[in-house]
């Protein structure tokens, strides 16, 4: 397991296939936030054949609904939310070229299959380490669905955002292999 691999977004297929479950990474560049309500709207747009507020090609989506930013902060506390709620929508975004997702918790088999097919990676950030993670967010700007409040889509500029590869593009899953080692 490699430590502290520096990654720059957008990600290419070559970036993605090198990453293995268990690697720790530091992500720099633009990432996009979206949770349940925003995903629903994105998929509605795709179904209607309309353009999305950002092009998912090569991008990374962070499943997060940040706390409001206090004065002097780029972002309020911003740890990951549980990812499985986005599972029904994810394969369609992966088909559109999405390369990475940051969240916490288990994913469905359909998502894993689509990740293998499309060459994408699922990163985990530490749930509840929200104040710490916010330190790596340098800028955050709402680019769509302001009416959704915390669930609006934000473009974030991050620097050395700490994450761990949970599911790699071959389908290896740290949530399965990690706990197995310590099960008694």
């Amino acid at each position: 397991m490699a430590k502290n691999i520096k990654l720059k977004t957008p990600l290419t297929n070559e970036d993605v296939v090198k990453l293995k479950a268990g690697d720790s990474v530091l992500i720099t560049g633009k990432i996009y936030t979206a949770r349940d309500a925003a995903h629903k709207r994105l998929i509605d747009l795709l179904t209607q054949g309309k353009e999305l507020p950002f092009d998912p090609e090569g991008q990374v989506i962070y499943y997060v609904g940040p706390a409001p930013a206090p004065p002097g902060y780029a972002s309020g506390s911003a740890g990951p939310t549980t990812s499985y709620r986005m599972d029904p929508y994810t394969p369609q975004l992966l088909d559109k070229g999405l390369k990475g997702m940051i969240g916490k918790g288990l994913r469905s088999q359909e998502v894993v299959e689509s990740m293998k097919k499309n060459k994408a990676v699922y990163f985990g950030a530490v749930g509840g380490a929200a104040a710490l993670i916010a330190k790596s967010i340098k800028k955050a700007e709402i680019i769509a669905y302001e009416d959704l409040g915390t669930e609006a889509i934000r473009e974030m500029e991050v620097e050395d955002f700490p994450a761990i590869v949970i599911i790699d593009s071959d389908g290896n899953n740290l949530y399965e292999t990690g706990p197995e080692k310590y099960r008694k």
Partner: protein
């Protein structure tokens, strides 16, 4: 009757919600630090240290320890000789929540209707208030902002009396196993046994608020708590669910008399951001 003014209630509850969201209790911090020493997984240690660091940042900078600042839940003990003056008691609490969440830069996570509109109320109200009338002339508030990553992993089971102690153990451990990484381990497991459906659920929620390291006064239940905690920490889930020994920091069980035909059990899971604060006025 002792008079207690609307404004004092509002001010007290507001401060409690700010404090609870910014400052994780020292019982949790001590237990997390102990766990760094006992954790066998290297990545598990790193994650526990990140959580400790996170909690220090939140406390020092007075920002939310976790972005999910939760639903506002309160357990209130109202002395029967206290009289609330100057306004509506429930409104004093909702006003407090509104002010804390807006002025304190806390996330608003409440939708007005659970099924149809799901429109954000934008001020994190209404609060969920559990009221108990007790002797005396004081009011005691125990508040907890409850995040839903862990709430969603909770479970209820109406066991048969014949399922007994083994049935209870199995249900608790199964619930934690199924939850895996989702509720942000290491977790605090609250268990309510007995009563009715809603009584067991309330007991379980209250159990999550007990200080880590304290046990049920009944030695049989205290033993059960320790035994189930050991079983859970053998599941291997570990910090953030990436493997390790530290899956739960505590298992807290509360019980209540129940019906001859029943054995209700509720498991309410709370994440490591186990936030609560209390005060008496």
């Amino acid at each position: 009757m002792r008079e207690i003014h609307f404004d004092i209630i509002r001010q007290t509850v507001k401060e409690l919600f700010l404090k609870a969201n910014y400052i994780i209790g020292d019982d949790i911090i001590v237990k997390l630090k102990e766990s760094v020493q006992t954790e066998e997984s290297e990545s598990g240690k790193v994650i526990l240290e990140q959580i400790i660091k996170n909690n220090e940042i939140a406390k020092n900078e007075r920002i939310a320890a976790c972005q999910d600042t939760g639903l506002a839940v309160l357990f209130v003990k109202l002395g029967q000789e206290a009289k609330v003056v100057g306004g509506d008691f429930n409104e004093a609490i909702n006003q407090a929540v509104r002010e804390a969440y807006i002025e304190g830069y806390l996330r608003k996570s409440v939708v007005d209707d659970p099924l149809f509109d799901r429109k954000n109320t934008n001020d994190n109200t209404p609060a969920i208030i559990h009221l108990e009338i007790v002797p005396g002339d004081k009011i005691h508030f125990l508040v907890t902002p409850k995040g839903f990553g862990s709430e969603n992993m909770s479970a209820l089971k109406m066991l048969k009396p014949a399922d007994g102690i083994e049935g209870v153990k199995e249900f608790i451990v199964e619930t934690v196993k199924k939850a895996g990484p989702n509720p942000c381990p290491p977790i605090v497991v609250g268990v309510g046994i007995g009563g009715t459906v809603e009584k067991a659920a309330l007991l379980a929620k209250k159990a999550t608020l007990r200080r880590v390291g304290e046990h049920n006064k009944d030695p049989r239940y205290a033993r059960l708590e320790k035994e189930v905690l050991e079983k859970i920490n053998r599941l291997g889930i570990g910090p953030a669910g990436l493997g390790g020994r530290t899956t739960a920091l505590a298992v807290n069980i509360e019980y209540f008399p129940t019906h001859i035909a029943g054995l209700p059990v509720v498991v309410n899971i709370c994440c490591h951001a186990a936030r609560h604060a209390e005060a008496e006025i």
